[in-house]
């Protein structure tokens, strides 16, 4: 089982960041790698068990991910991958946002566990960690800074 963990400081209050990212259907709004997204079956995106169906900007690749947990108390959500063009299986990931009281900023964490199904494990781990997670943090920070 491979594990990846990334964390960063986002220069906006935790309530602001959480309001921006808690929508499970909002990936195209804040992640530069994602083009389109919809929630299957017309469910609301904060309904645990709902499935988001979204496409990558680079190649149109389709992903389906299911929301497993969502907490407005801990500002966290957890999901797994049902279908993905990435060489992974048994993929479960969590995002969590914690207030930084000194400076009124946000500590953002994103971690995942999964099996790599082809190719060198470290390549996929680094790709997800840097190109998905850290790229997401950077994009959230720059988009909220403009508001």
């Amino acid at each position: 089982m491979a594990k990846v963990y990334r964390s960063a400081v986002i220069d906006a209050p935790a309530e602001v960041v959480w309001a921006y990212v808690r929508d499970f259907n909002a990936l195209p709004k804040w992640h530069p790698a994602i083009a389109t997204s919809e929630i299957e079956g017309g469910l609301s995106s904060d309904r645990v068990g709902c499935v988001r169906r979204f496409t990558r900007r680079s190649d149109g690749g389709l992903l389906r991910e299911q929301l497993l947990a969502l907490s407005d108390v801990d500002r966290t959500f957890t999901y797994n991958i049902l279908i993905s063009p990435m060489p992974v299986a048994n993929y479960v990931a969590t995002m969590r946002f914690t207030p930084i009281t000194a400076g009124n900023k946000t500590f953002a964490e994103w971690w995942a566990e999964f099996d790599v199904t082809s190719g060198p494990e470290q390549v996929t781990v680094t790709d997800i960690g840097d190109n998905v997670f850290v790229a997401g943090f950077a994009s959230i920070g720059s988009k909220l800074a403009k508001h």
Binding site: Y5, R6, S7, A8, V9, T98, P99, I100, T101, A102, G103, K105, F107, E109, V134, F137
Partner: protein, 148 residues
Amino acid sequence: MTKVFVSAVVDAPIEQVWGKVRDFNGLPQWHPRFSRSHIEDGLPSDRIGCVRNFDIAGGGGTIRERLLTLSDLDHTFAYCILTSPLPVEGYVAALTLYPVTVGNKTLGVWTAEFRVTNGKEADVVEAVGNGTFGKAFEVLNEFFATRR
């Protein structure tokens, strides 16, 4: 029940920050609000259940706290107050460090829950939150800034 939550980025890698704060008997060595400390009954300071006996600097009195949790895996420790001059009861606190991988820094989160026994909740929250926890993160940043 009153809750205090204070968090700050410390500009040093987590293993360095953890190495600085992990010793349950070492508080006066890095926190200016406290002086003199020993572990009662000659126990080692990483033994769960040990009691640290230390002074508030400037003659503010003695505090005794029991170590409840220590984890080198999660970079956290928790403790409760046994006796102190503070107007609190049921006081349990924890310090947890998280790695900030972007920039190789550390997030410190220090929390406490307690009941205030003299009715002056705002004063106690200020003393614990900014006076103790917030001050700790300030001096840790000053310490690591001078080492660079």
